[in-house]
Amino acid sequence: MFSAFFVLLVLPLVIILVSLLLYRLSGRNRGG
């Protein structure tokens, strides 16, 4: 039950948060 809760509700939020984190970390003119 917990693992279903995690992959169906928490995981999508985690992925979106990671994209925001990458946005912050990549910085203009860096990374690419």
Binding site: M1, S3, A4, F5, F6, V7, L8, L9, L11, P12, I15, I16, V18, S19, L20, L22, Y23, S26, R28, N29, G31, G32
Partner: protein, 480 residues
């Protein structure tokens, strides 16, 4: 039972038709922005970040997401999530890293296609990369477009009760009209409109369904009573989970996705596009998974579905849940998903024929006036579309055989070589050629002979072997 019965309602039918014809109007509105071949194939490198984000995601997701993933969740339960996690993660990094660097370098080289980039990057005067890449693209992506047309036409033929040939011709004409008018810009804006249409099918639909079932805990309880494995995402074997995640390895090698990054107006805006794209990818992908899970909770027996096919669960539920207006939009959503992939791929095929084969290989880069290049691009889009439609009608077995290898083949051949070309200075022409050829051959061989006995998805060995081939091929050849 015809799963499209409800389309006989005039309101549902009118809304469905509107979703089919709307792209043509977009083509008309974007016509005046077509001044050069660069406008036609990459939107003149002037596209907005929202458009690029939504277009890059929509082009990568065909009916496989709407019908395939929901069917997979119906059959396998919560474990279907692994099939979407891989490509969402891969594409998130792609926007920010591969996309940004590729956008900068392609502008510096003035490249319109991926193969243009490879040739300039490696100063490949003998055009070996362009020729090899063009063959791989011409075979796999033409088959890919044809397969999208077949899928769309079969569904359209059932939905409207018309012959498949007529449905094929109608979908071909609909796509070609706006592509000829507005090229890449029409295709990209249509992707945005289709994303809006998909909000109904993959956002409102699952939320409404969840409310009707009694909420998330009720859904899990019902599923666990049916079969506890349905709510255990780790009930699948490690091989299957890795294979699902491995789907993401294909994303960087799909020219129709990668070309979107090349079209943005400012490379740094790809950072924000990554957030929008990832958000959208997550929303529609989890939406498809939830539809499959709800379907299983409401209709536990697959035998009670038409043709006992779990992939029709989206259609069955939408017919049961919604009134004519939303139903029309939801069915339109399926075609939206199919056509947004088909048109993007068709544009890649046409750019390969015009820019890579005709202008660079046959004409050897001779100067051609811009208006003639644009005219030629439009003619070739029509010819490529006709080729795909003829293949779709006459050679379905061949198409579906080729498409088995398409996602993996392109991923292994172009994904690996692109990453090395961008990030490893020591990469050489020989390395790229070795990677492209090895990737394609390993995918075909593994898919045919080893994927069933080993239960390992072909893209994983394909990607590894192609990467090794790039490294070995580069190291044994002369330093650039």
């Amino acid at each position: 039972m015809n799963i499209y019965d409800k389309l006989t309602d005039p309101l549902a039918f009118s809304i469905f038709l509107l979703t089919l014809f709307l792209p043509v109007f977009v083509g008309l509105f974007t016509l005046r922005r077509m001044r050069s071949q660069s406008d036609f194939f990459i939107g003149g490198r002037a596209m907005d970040r929202f458009v690029v984000a939504l277009s890059a995601v929509s082009s990568g997701r065909s009916s496989w997401l709407v019908l395939g993933v929901s069917g997979m969740a119906f059959t396998r339960g919560a474990g279907a999530v692994w099939a979407v996690v891989g490509y969402i993660t891969a594409e998130m990094f792609q926007f920010i890293y591969i996309g940004r660097k590729l956008r900068r370098e392609t502008e510096a080289f003035g490249s319109l296609t991926l193969l243009d980039y490879f040739e300039s990057r490696f100063q490949d005067r003998r055009q070996l990369i362009r020729i090899t890449g063009a063959v791989i693209i011409a075979i796999f992506i033409t088959a890919y477009v044809a397969a999208q047309f077949v899928g769309g036409a079969k569904a359209l033929s059932t939905a409207l009760d018309i012959p498949v040939l007529l449905a094929l011709a109608a979908s071909g004409v609909l796509v070609l009209v706006y592509m000829v008018l507005g090229g890449y810009i029409a295709v990209a804006y249509n992707d945005v409109i289709r994303a809006v249409i998909l909000i109904v099918g993959l956002v409102i639909f699952p939320v409404y369904g969840l409310i009707r079932i009694g909420g998330f805990p009720a859904l899990l309880h019902t599923l666990s009573r049916l079969d506890p494995a349905l709510i255990d995402p780790f009930s699948l074997s490690v091989g299957v989970i890795l294979g699902f995640l491995g789907i993401g390895l294909g994303s960087p090698g799909q020219p129709h996705i990668v070309v979107r990054y090349m079209s943005i107006d400012d490379p740094d805006k790809l950072r924000f596009a990554a957030v929008i794209g990832t958000f959208w990818n997550v929303v529609i992908s989890w939406g498809a998974v939830f539809i499959g899970l709800m379907g299983r909770a409401l209709i536990p027996d697959v035998e009670s579905l038409p043709a006992a096919d779990p992939e029709v669960i989206y259609l069955v539920l939408s017919s049961e849940f919604f009134g004519p207006a939303l139903y029309g939009l939801i069915i339109g959503g399926i075609f939206a998903a199919i056509l947004s992939t088909a048109d993007s791929q068709l544009l890649v095929v046409a750019s390969t024929f015009v820019c890579d084969i005709y202008e660079k290989i046959i004409k050897k880069g001779a100067a051609i006036p811009e208006d003639r290049r644009l005219r030629l691009s439009r003619v070739v889009v029509v010819l490529s579309g006709i080729l795909a439609l003829v293949m779709a009608y006459l050679a379905q077995d061949l198409i579906f055989w080729l498409v088995l290898f398409a996602w993996g083949g392109l991923g292994a051949a172009f994904g690996t070589t692109l990453i090395f070309a961008l990030y490893w200075k020591r990469t050489t022409i020989a390395g790229v050629l070795a990677g492209m050829i090895t990737g394609t051959l390993v995918i075909i061989f593994w898919k045919l002979y080893l994927s069933q006995p080993t239960e390992i998805y072909e893209l994983i060995p394909g990607f590894i072997c192609a990467s090794l081939a790039v490294v070995i091929g580069s190291l044994v050849s002369r330093k650039p």
